[in-house]
């Protein structure tokens, strides 16, 4: 097993930049079923990194490891040189403040309205005045094209709006790293395209590193600087979008064409 202080093994297409997030030999099993089986990957500062994979491939579990929501059975997640898996709870909380995370269904607090949801991390972690908080919430909602809905209850929002409010809440504290958990799942193609535009807008306007997990090919190619393919708890390949299309792996080609391998059908 690689020690946390040892240099992270560089993948074939690694850029010379120091990785912002390094996942080293990550293993996780639930009730005896192995979900992650030795995942290795690196995310460099400022890039938009997309992890593709089918249902049950372990994408969400991997993403939750990146922010310390799940502890691995083996392996390490190193964020800016700090090992999240070995850190004390207080240190973990500090590291987590670098992150903003958007959940699959938004995970909005249903006891609060939209404004209060976006204001929540600001009230919790800053000493901003109510006027400053209102300005920041307004700014965040503007960035996701949802200005003017602050007083709405979360149950009045559509699926796409919930996710965008989730984005606004995730960026409220100006995080350095943004994680998106299946931002397009269950949305119609038009709403899905709007979500992509919002993510691209955030990528271009904010100085952040982004990690997105999805199984939506079109969305992945629109928003990614690099794409990784996860299959059966392992990374099959990491490449830039155009290179990724040319990869000869039959599973990847099947995934791109929407044609499952024979063994998958069986």
């Amino acid at each position: 097993m690689t020690s946390p202080s040892a240099p992270v093994p560089a993948p074939a297409d690694a850029t010379p930049a120091v990785p912002r997030i390094a996942v080293i030999d990550l293993w996780k099993a639930f009730r005896g079923k192995e979900v992650l089986r030795g995942v290795n990957l690196e995310v460099t500062a400022g890039e938009s990194f997309v992890i593709l994979g089918g249902s049950g491939a372990g994408k969400s579990v991997l993403l939750k490891h990146l922010i310390g929501l799940i502890q691995p059975d083996r392996g390490h997640v190193v964020v800016d040189g700090e090992d999240l898996t070995c850190a004390e709870p207080a240190v973990c909380l500090q590291i987590r403040r670098k992150f903003g995370m958007s959940f699959q269904e938004g995970a909005l607090f249903d006891s609060m309205n939209v404004f209060e949801n976006v204001a929540f991390p600001l009230r919790r972690h800053t000493r901003m005045t109510e006027a400053e908080i209102a300005d920041r919430v307004h700014e965040c909602l503007q960035l996701v094209n949802l200005d003017g809905i602050g007083r709405k209850a979360t149950n009045e929002l559509s699926g796409g709006m919930r996710r965008r409010v989730g984005f606004a809440r995730a960026i409220a504290l100006q995080p350095e790293i943004l994680l998106f958990d299946e931002p397009n799942t269950g949305l119609d193609p038009l709403t899905s395209a709007v979500i992509d535009e919002v993510i691209i807008g955030m990528r271009d306007r904010l100085p952040v590193t982004m990690v997105t997990i999805t199984h939506d090919m079109r969305s992945a190619f629109r928003i990614a600087d690099r794409i990784a393919m996860l299959r059966d708890g392992r990374i099959l390949a990491v490449a830039q979008p155009e290179e990724f299309r040319q990869l000869p792996d039959p599973y990847i080609q099947g995934f791109l064409a929407g044609e499952p391998l024979e063994e998958e059908v069986a």
């Binding site: 922010i67 500090q94 699959q104 995970a107 249903d110």
Partner: protein, 267 residues
């Protein structure tokens, strides 16, 4: 060569396995309860103090529960007066109805019945609320926002139950005694002045205090049980339903068990 098939498990093997699973699951439940309890204590005196949330929970647990607890106590007092009067008149001891009623209410009935009512009202609500937050990833969202969910969600709820159960039990004491007085004086013809005197004749401050201590402990038990069940919910809507039922059943059973030991200690 084909690997050897495992030998079929016999009856004894299966029974032992079932017992082992149950014991392990019981130990896990106890471990979770004490994990939530210790983490709650750890975070109780740490900043930031969300006074607004504490206030909201105290109103929900305390003020909003007055009608349920009050009605229960009022009728318990009334029924107690009827039952003891009929019993005591057989050996001409009707005069002691008031004393028996005030002692049994303050020491036992008001704290236990209030706690059981609160276990149904608040314990289930806590399990359902936290369980729903768990399955809709709201608890994960709190973690992701560098907020400890136990600090934000559990501490104010447990604190509100511990602080509000004793005042609720004081209310129950008063209303229970009132219910008994109304029945004894109006239906059974007791002398109102004598009844009132007898109510307080043998009642000690320790009797009331022991009831209030019990109330605070019961508040801790029912809230930690409800929060534990909700916090560790899994399995969607069905899981929330299971947690809610388990919170009420477990909370009530633990309250009744701990009542014996508390009574033994406080006597």
């Amino acid at each position: 060569m084909k690997p050897a098939e495992p030998a079929p498990r016999g009856y004894l093997h299966r029974q032992l396995e079932a017992i082992g699973t149950r014991v392990a699951s019981g130990c896990e439940e106890v471990g979770r309860f004490f994990y939530i309890l210790s983490t709650t204590l750890h975070w109780t005196f740490r900043r930031p103090f969300d006074l607004k949330e504490w206030g909201r929970q105290m109103v929900r647990v305390g003020v909003d529960s007055v009608p349920v607890v009050g009605l229960t106590a009022l009728f318990t007092g009334a029924v107690m007066a009827l039952q003891t009067f009929r019993g005591f008149e057989r050996f001409h001891a009707e005069g002691f109805v008031a004393s028996v009623l005030s002692l049994s209410l303050t020491r036992e009935l008001a704290p236990v019945l209030s706690a059981l009512m609160m276990s149904g009202r608040i314990g289930s609500a806590l399990a359902a609320e936290l369980g729903t937050m768990r399955v809709t990833e709201q608890i994960d969202a709190l973690y992701a926002m560098a907020t400890e969910p136990i600090h934000y969600l559990v501490v104010p709820r447990v604190g509100a139950c511990v602080l509000m159960l004793p005042p609720l039990v004081m209310c129950a004491n008063g209303l229970g005694i009132l219910g008994g007085w109304v029945v004894a004086v109006n239906l059974l013809g007791a002398n109102p002045v004598v009844y009132w005197q007898r109510t307080f004749q043998y009642l000690d401050l320790n009797d009331v205090m022991s009831g209030l201590i019990k109330a605070a402990v019961f508040g801790l038990i029912l809230s930690v049980t409800g929060c534990t069940k909700g916090y560790f919910t899994s399995g969607g809507a069905e899981g929330v339903g299971r947690s809610t039922t388990a919170a009420v059943v477990m909370g009530s059973v633990v309250i009744l068990l701990s009542d014996f030991f508390l009574t033994k200690i406080l006597f």
